[in-house]
């Protein structure tokens, strides 16, 4: 075939690779292809053959891995780098894609969608653009009143005509159509194909028609190019290819279309070669162990991200504390401090020397888990936090565990018995998620259950004053009480915990519940659920699978709530007089103790990071697709 070196769209040995290293996948392999003015070329192939990727490369929507594309003899990369030439190119080469439901702005009328390219690419003014839009729509046989509708108000066939109109409105010289009729009914397909073929013939536009439907392609295109595994294996006139293709693969494709009409092929077909893939399971113990390690290292990849994240938070805490206005040293020492005293305080806060020096010292200490010394108590922050953090974590864990328990029971009722009164109540509670803040619920609870009803003890700590605290073993107060076996302490501590935990349930389970119910409702209606039921899977299995699919979003939400319960422990702890991190922060802020605030930020950030690490690992366990390096579609 004689190819014009200057005119048209031409690819020169182009390669498109997705991903890197072992996971990379070559979608387009060494393709040299040209689309000269006036040609109508059908690119056919089965899914995964790379034909859509080729289409996106032709219109400059994807970058090449290798090779180059020229447009009228000029390099496409150069064209796209210059704004003026890019506009010219966009005007000359238009793409119509398969999915019209997402390619239109749902908030604008269809006329607007067709007019925009006429104004922006063809440079028409509003009146001229409107006239051009009407002209194109009339040529495509679209009733005029439809143009004033929104994309979702017209049928798929009509929307596809608008997509075509949007491309044709700029009088492109080249039109790339990717599976434009595959989603349409046969009768509508005919109409769209007729329009497409004849508007190309009438305007002289060149067409690249990408499709897996051979009959439609054969009708529209005067030439066919057959793609397999990223390569074009054959190209020729439509009549030639249909009548006498020399390629076995092409004949196989043609047969598939011819046979379906005339009944099944009575001999059972052996699975096509493409379906049989090599066995991955390795042989021998060593190989199997190595294989297992390779398969299971997804969590290691996630873990490796942790140090970097910690460093970012450490820097953030450092910067935040230094951005506090005013001179903290003067606040602490008072106006009349001697220079020596001033310098001493400045040193103990880590504020002496230049900023890089301060940062160096700060990071150096962090590596040794040294957060500095509290100015107020004179003790190291590490020991202060070691004493308080477990208590806060225990309270937050209790609150979260209780909230999750309530969430799971409530979600099951809400979803399984949608018409019951309980379900209505649960759904309205979930709907009001987070409307009432926890301190309001806490104050209300204390007023009602302590001050009025006297059902719970006074909110003045974890234990009644008369009872001696159990010896510290783990640092977790309730666990220590259980370990000590001191019945009076256990009972008193439990009594003191009832109201705070209840407040946390009421305040925080609604958001998790809302997420879970929405997820369950969505998953219940999916074909995956119906198919399981239809094949007779037991109810328990169906529910387990529905919950598992709805869980990842819920786990993420629960992680957020847990982070809030730890970081925001200040509210519950101050309300109920519990010792913990929250209370410590209050003191540090009141005393302008910068070191303590900085240490607090770093510690809480670390806890949050660990929580989200746990959330991620949980979700990777629940949904293997979330593990790094997992191909989403093995086709």
């Amino acid at each position: 075939m004689v190819e014009s070196a200057l005119q048209g769209l031409q690819t020169h040995s182009i390669v498109k690779r997705f991903g890197h290293g072992r996971h990379s996948h070559v979608a387009v392999r060494n393709v040299t292809f040209c689309l000269v003015p006036g040609a109508r070329v059908g690119i056919v192939g089965e899914s995964g053959s790379g034909k859509s990727t080729l289409g996106r490369l032709l219109v400059g929507l994807d970058t090449l891995s290798e090779g180059r594309i020229t447009f009228d003899g000029q390099d496409l990369g150069d064209i796209l780098r210059s704004r003026a030439r890019r506009l010219d190119y966009r005007r000359a080469v238009q793409l119509v894609a398969q999915d019209t439901s997402s390619s239109f702005d749902p908030l604008r009328r269809l006329r607007h969608a067709v007019r925009v390219p006429a104004q922006q690419l063809a440079g028409l003014d509003q009146a001229a653009a409107d006239a051009r839009v009407d002209e194109v729509l009339a040529a495509l046989g679209v009733p005029e009143h439809l143009a004033d509708r929104y994309p979702y108000e017209v049928s798929g066939g009509q929307r596809q005509r608008f997509a075509l109109a949007r491309a044709l409105v700029v009088r492109p010289r080249f039109l790339v159509c990717d599976e434009v009729v595959s989603a349409l009914d046969v009768s509508v397909q005919g109409q769209v194909l007729n329009l497409l073929k004849h508007s190309c013939i009438d305007t002289g536009a060149a067409l690249a028609f990408i499709s897996h439907g051979l009959p439609a392609t054969a009708f529209v295109a005067s030439e066919l190019a057959v793609m397999v595994r990223g390569e074009i294996i054959e190209r020729g006139s439509t009549a030639d290819i249909l009548a006498r293709s020399t390629q076995a693969y092409t004949r196989h494709l043609l047969d598939a279309h011819r046979v379906s009409r005339h009944g099944r092929t009575h001999a059972m077909q052996p699975p096509a070669a493409a379906l049989v893939q090599p066995v991955l399971a390795p042989q021998g113990f060593g190989a199997r162990a190595a294989h297992l390690l390779r398969r299971q290292r997804w969590w290691l990849a996630r873990l490796a991200a942790l140090p970097g994240q910690l460093l970012v938070f450490a820097l953030l805490a450092f910067a935040l504390v230094r951005m506090i206005p005013g001179d903290p040293v003067r606040t602490i020492t008072g106006g009349q401090a001697t220079p020596d005293k001033y310098a001493a305080v400045q040193h103990s806060l880590g504020l002496d020397g230049t900023l890089p020096e301060q940062l160096g010292r700060y990071l150096g200490r962090l590596v040794h888990l040294d957060l500095g010394t509290s100015l107020l108590t004179g003790r190291t922050l590490t020991s202060e936090f070691a004493q308080r953090l477990p208590a806060t974590l225990e309270l937050a864990t209790m609150g979260l565990a209780a909230s999750l328990l309530v969430t799971f029971i409530a979600s099951a009722i809400a979803v399984m018995r949608p018409r019951s009164l309980a379900s209505v109540a649960i759904r309205s509670y979930a709907g009001a998620a987070g409307a009432i803040p926890d301190f309001a619920i806490g104050v209300l609870g204390i007023f009602l259950f302590y001050a009025t009803l006297h059902w719970v003890p006074a909110p003045l700590g974890r234990l009644a004053l008369s009872i001696q605290a159990p010896p510290r073993v783990t640092g977790l107060p309730f666990v220590d009480a259980l370990l000590s076996g001191d019945q009076a302490a256990i009972v008193s501590m439990a009594q003191h915990l009832v109201l705070p935990v209840l407040v946390m349930i009421v305040a925080h389970s609604a958001v998790v519940l809302q997420q879970l119910i929405a997820g369950l409702d969505e998953e219940l209606d999916k074909p995956a659920t119906l198919f399981r039921i239809s094949t007779g899977a037991p109810v328990s299995t169906v529910l387990l699978s529905v919950y598992r699919r709805a869980l990842p979003a819920t786990v993420t939400m629960a992680g957020t709530v847990f982070g809030y319960l730890v970081g925001g422990a200040i509210i519950i702890e101050s309300l109920f007089g519990f010792e913990g991190m929250g209370q410590y922060l209050t003191d540090a802020v009141a005393g302008a103790d910068l070191t303590a605030m900085q240490g607090f930020l770093v510690t809480i950030a670390t806890v949050s990071l660990l929580i989200f690490l746990l959330v991620d690992l949980c979700n990777m366990l629940i949904d293997p697709r979330r593990r790094p390096g997992v191909a989403k579609d093995g086709a």
């Binding site: 089965e46 899914s47 009914d185 046969v186 009768s187 397909q189 005919g190 109409q191 194909l193 007729n194 439907g213 009959p215 054969a218 009708f219 009549a239 249909l242 196989h252 494709l253 598939a256 279309h257 011819r258 046979v259 379906s260 009409r261 009944g263 099944r264 059972m268 077909q269 052996p270 699975p271 096509a272 049989v276 893939q277 399971a281 979803v415 399984m416 018995r417 949608p418 999916k526 074909p527 995956a528 119906l530 198919f531 399981r532 039921i533 239809s534 094949t535 007779g536 899977a537 109810v539 699978s545 598992r548 699919r549 629940i622 293997p624 697709r625 191909a631 989403k632 093995g634 086709a635």
Partner: protein, 304 residues
């Protein structure tokens, strides 16, 4: 390898053996008379299926053909029992499968299976559960539908995978749906569907997500498996040619009504309704590559 998984290994369950004694076409298992399905509040409801009547006999292969919005998927869901307890309103003079009334309400949000009816959906990627391995999903169905000792389950799982031509057992049993190719997924879905021992298999657009060659393999396989299990097959599709090749009888749906019931073999000569004849002519084939214009429904006949 395919010789090992021979037909002899399937032990028919008693109900199926009973059916073997009677000529298939004379035993109606599904009866629908005056079936109407509507959505929305009673005073302002929209009927998706209107006054549809037909029967399916044991072992029949029936196709419902129609364009999008014709109500064919709603009809299939109603027959599979999936509209009970939803906002859809199902009425009929008779609607029963094997003596079970399909109109009976279920109180639960979770649809309930109609014994003997299995439904497969358009895309195996969405029909199979993405989070569980093929072995687990097939194993659950095998355990439920066959009386087996626990340690025999993997053997039966292998058996069913072999029946759909998947020989690479070790890999496939451990694979999750997204790790398989489209054709393999479709085969796995068929294996699970057939392992549930249906007497009626409803397939909603079983091939429209597939390439033509894979579609043909899947339809061949589905026909073979349902024939072997003496199960009736109801396929719902917009692809008239596919239905012509694989069904005995075709029901044409238009705007919620069945406008034509015709034997697939005679559809080109016996079709009476304009819409059916129009549909037949406007399916593009390889022979029409050099015609100036494709026939469309508008150019053939005005629908309705």
């Amino acid at each position: 390898m395919s010789d090992v998984i021979s037909r002899g290994q399937i032990q028919p369950i008693p109900a199926i053996q009973g059916l073997l004694l009677q000529p298939a076409q004379t035993t109606p298992i599904l009866l629908a008379d005056g079936l109407t399905v509507s959505y929305g509040p009673p005073e302002n409801s929209v009927a998706a299926v209107r006054d549809v009547s037909f029967t399916i006999g044991a072992g029949d292969r029936v196709a419902i053909v129609g364009e999008s919005g014709s109500g064919k998927t709603t009809l299939a869901l109603a027959l599979a029992g999936f509209l009970r307890g939803t906002s859809a309103h199902v009425t009929a003079r008779t609607l029963s499968f094997d003596g079970i009334d399909l109109r009976a309400a279920v109180g639960s949000r979770l649809p309930r299976k109609i014994p003997g009816v299995t439904m497969v959906f358009q895309d195996a990627m969405t029909s199979l559960d993405p989070l569980w391995t093929v072995g687990s999903q097939l194993g659950v169905v095998v355990r439920k539908n066959e009386t087996l000792r626990r340690r025999d389950v993997p053997l039966r799982v292998r058996h069913w995978l072999g029946r759909v031509g998947l020989m690479d057992f070790d890999r496939i049993v451990r694979a999750r749906p997204y790790e398989l190719s489209g054709g393999m997924r479709q085969r796995v879905m068929l294996a699970i569907a057939i392992a549930s021992r249906p007497r009626l298999l409803i397939a909603d657009e079983p091939t429209s997500a597939l390439d033509a060659s894979v579609a043909r393999e899947v339809m061949d396989l589905m026909t073979e498996l349902t024939e072997e299990a003496q199960a009736a097959l109801l396929m719902v599709s917009h692809d008239l040619h596919m239905c012509q090749g694989y069904a005995d009888r075709i029901l044409v749906m238009l705007q919620g009504r069945v406008v034509e019931q015709v034997a697939a073999a005679q559809i080109e000569t016996a079709a009476r309704h304009d819409y059916t004849r129009g549909l037949l002519r406007c399916v593009p084939t390889l022979d029409c590559f050099d015609v100036p214009l494709l026939p469309t429904l508008c150019s053939v006949a005005a629908p309705g």
